[in-house]
């Protein structure tokens, strides 16, 4: 059973537009949520995170929104750039010594 779900395997967006990547989770004990970005032949790199006590966190072009009642979070990238083309993983952690749990990822393609 997947605790973190990314139901869209791929997304294509035009340069300059908004990219919205979605993530759902099932474990109500999760209290931190993270987004990682992965380029081919590289390891995932941390992008942005949000605590469960917040509903929004913004860092430059990247904003993460959290809806706890719906167990849903989303990553918004505005404006999208060709260099944003990568696989984006949603991840979550429960407090304590539990491992970080990843979704399957969404491949974003930003078209110039």
């Amino acid at each position: 059973d997947q605790q973190v779900k990314q139901n869209s395997p791929s997304l294509s967006v035009q340069e300059g537009r908004i990219s919205i990547l979605n993530c759902d989770y099932t474990n109500s004990m999760f209290d931190y949520f993270l987004w990682y970005k992965k380029y081919p032949a590289e390891g995932p790199t941390f992008l942005i995170s949000i605590s469960s006590i917040k509903d929004k966190n913004e860092d430059g072009r990247f904003t993460v929104f959290l809806n706890k009642s719906a167990k849903h979070l989303s990553l918004h990238i505005v404006p999208s750039q060709p260099g944003d083309s990568a696989v984006y993983f949603c991840a979550a952690i429960a407090s304590g010594n539990t491992p970080l749990v990843f979704g399957k990822g969404t491949r974003l393609s930003v078209i110039a």
């Binding site: 931190y32 032949a41 590289e42 390891g43 995170s49 952690i93 970080l100 399957k104």
Partner: protein, 116 residues
């Protein structure tokens, strides 16, 4: 370099053989993690070390998989009697594990294992 280093980057082996994958974490990071990423999947947790001891090995799929970190720095993931289903990218990550830990991991580039 200052990042997490993994060797080999690619390993091709035959079914039934023994394989070792090495991870050199960021200097000073006390926590070290092994994840496995199969095609079309996200990283799946295997094992976590805090210092020299395995704090959580609940993700190891079976007893063919074993990992060590004898001096609290470099770690080796060992796979015995490899099977074709073991083919994946094995990712190592480290973290300073400051409290409260918010989940940020620093990943290496991974070791791609192919079992023929």
């Amino acid at each position: 370099g200052a990042g997490v280093s993994q060797t080999p980057s690619n390993k091709v082996t035959e079914k039934g053989k023994y394989v070792e994958l090495r991870c050199d974490p960021i200097s000073g990071h006390t926590a070290l993690y092994w994840y496995r990423q199969s095609l079309g999947q996200g990283p799946e947790f295997l094992i976590y070390f805090q210092g020299t001891g395995a704090a959580d090995d609940s993700g190891l799929p079976n007893d063919r998989f074993f990992a060590v970190r004898p001096e609290g720095s470099v770690s080796t993931l060992k796979i015995q009697r490899t099977e074709r289903g073991d083919s994946a990218v094995y990712l190592c990550a480290s973290s300073p594990r400051d409290y409260p830990w918010t989940g940020e991991l620093f990943f290496g580039e991974g070791s791609r294992l192919t079992v023929l």
